[in-house]
Symmetry: C2
């Protein structure tokens, strides 16, 4: 496949690390990065080292950039702005960037030379990513858009735009981080032994001591999955209320039967029914060691009538971040292939896997 050019919207944790990881392959050329203050664009390829060095500790984490919160998956910078400093805020601290009143438009305007756009934006409101997609639709973009979200509700909103994506020639890949991305991909692979999948059990462990300050957004999203909260009530918690919830759990919060997009994504890929998928995990904000091993178990019936369980386990030393960025770029490349083969619309990671 030819070289792939891509842009990153949002230069928080995911955006930055994706740029960094992309340096490990020759097939991906980062050509644009933006936050709400400006955009860096270079079709010969961004100088990622300069960009990261110049903006290190200079991320504006206010609403409008920063990062995407996905429990057990991607990492969110808290909207605290603590890292913001210096004269030039955010990406414009890089000599490659220029300030802009509408940096997303600056990317859209150059969209004909950008194969894929990673939306590493925060999603404090459900419809934020869908609204960004609308802008790309309005701007006549035809290429790949990819997010690392995990909310079923966002996928529904994107699906409502399926026909518009089709008409525009946009391939939207959703949920392409660690979970649902990597883990539903693993479930899909594991399902290949079976003619019928009866259970998919996704169980994650995250240790988040040293990364805690940078990832409060994630913790908040996770708390929304506790039985006594939902996304709205968790968002409305003050910082001290949030701390109180954590203290109540002694820093270790266990989640069962989470409402995660994994179920929806596996069903739309035809792997199994959504109701046969269960997602849970343990978050420990007081230790960096994972409190439990992230495991995907797929149980099914083989063509010759046997019942068995295939399993995929992530090594405990792989961080959330490591499990987001590689998969996101892998699905980005696969999305570009689909796009070049004129396959448009909304795709989950499981749909991008080889599967009979």
């Amino acid at each position: 496949m030819n070289d792939i050019t891509f842009a990153v919207l949002g230069t928080g944790g995911i955006g930055r690390r994706t740029l960094e990881v992309s340096q490990h392959t020759d097939e991906l050329t980062p050509v644009a990065a933006c936050d709400r203050h400006g955009a860096a664009v270079d079709f010969d390829g961004l100088d990622v080292e300069e960009l990261l060095a110049a903006t290190e500790g200079n991320i504006d984490s206010g609403p409008g950039d920063g990062d995407v919160a996905t429990d057990g998956g991607a990492v969110a910078d808290a909207p605290s702005g603590v890292k913001q400093h210096g004269e030039s805020v955010g990406v414009v601290a890089s000599e490659q960037a220029t300030p802009s009143d509408d940096p997303i438009q600056a990317i859209i305007d150059r969209g004909d030379r950008i194969d894929a756009v990673l939306l590493a934006l925060p999603n404090y409101e459900h419809d934020f990513i869908p609204r960004v997609a609308d802008r790309f639709l309005e701007g006549g973009y035809s290429g790949v858009l990819i997010d690392v979200l995990k909310r079923s509700r966002v996928i529904e909103m994107l699906d409502e735009r399926g026909e518009a994506f089709d008409d525009a020639g946009i391939t939207f890949v959703c949920g392409a981080g660690a979970t649902p991305g990597l883990l539903t991909g693993a479930a899909t692979l594991a399902a290949q032994s079976f003619v019928e999948v009866t259970d998919v059990d996704i169980w994650w462990g995250v240790g988040l001591k040293s990364g805690y300050e940078d990832n409060r957004g994630t913790v908040r999203e996770d708390i929304a999955h506790l039985p006594e909260y939902d996304i709205e009530t968790a968002r409305d918690l003050s910082e001290s209320e949030l701390e109180a919830v954590i203290d109540d759990h002694d820093g270790v919060i266990e989640f069962e039967d989470m409402e995660h997009a994994d179920d929806v994504l596996l069903e739309r890929a035809g792997v199994c029914d959504a109701e046969d998928v269960s997602v849970g995990g343990i978050l420990d904000v007081r230790r960096d060691e994972k409190p439990t091993t992230t495991t995907v178990s797929v149980t099914g019936r083989t063509f010759d009538g046997e019942t068995a369980t295939n399993t995929f386990e992530l090594g405990d030393a792989t961080s959330m971040e490591a499990n987001v960025n590689g998969p996101a770029l892998g699905y980005l490349k696969t999305g570009v292939r689909r796009n070049r083969a004129d396959e448009y619309g909304v795709f989950g990671p499981a749909e991008l896997m080889p599967r009979f």
Copy 2:
């Protein structure tokens, strides 16, 4: 994606089971099947049930059809002809088939309506599959050819035809069964956490008591991997010499550092260097229980400097057969996508996985 039509060359174990498993998805329509006696072709879709029932116990396992031997992976019918009976031998026992002096040509002649051809043929000679590919090249076929072999030497031969495949518009997918197919796919997925993979360890277990008679070809191929044998000397063993080798090992043969195509396929996909891949396993021909759990371990370095091992395990109750047919059809579909996107040449399963 549109409906995919496919043909199966060879109606031994793999051919038959692939036809059977394809009934579990709507996206695949089997339109042709042949052995050396004849061919069944129906572009409305073969009646798989009739074909399998009519040929049950009536497989001609002589040289020229039967099945492909792949240790720890696909299953080979022994060339004993024991299953052959009745007036019509092999596929022509089905009312859908007609006898032919050159059944492969009968398929090639209808190639413009066949998206993919599974070569479920024996490979007692190294160049058998490559020579079949030559016939499709000469016949002007442009579509997907797919095999479930595991020999590095065959892949080299196919690679020599890479330019010819390119010119013809053929996408050749090689090694798409359990191993290297499913297991290198799992290794590729597991590698997504890492920016550098340092070790891939593939370890398989096969219990082959009840399937032993049908799978002597596989056992023979496995023996070729023992230090004191090679493919030629193993092929030249008489049946009683073969039994003597098995007796010497009390029916349980352990293999280390096998020359398997997994290493070549992972290297060409860019996952790691071939020398960092090790393949071994245990074959027990006196029990059906697997003597060890088939496990893929991938060790690497994450972008943030950690070293970890991700693992994929197949449930012990999944048979070799179950792990060949699903993956083969999954890679077949992915191959058709690539073909439709004008990607031609030789591809291993690892190259068909999402990967950054």
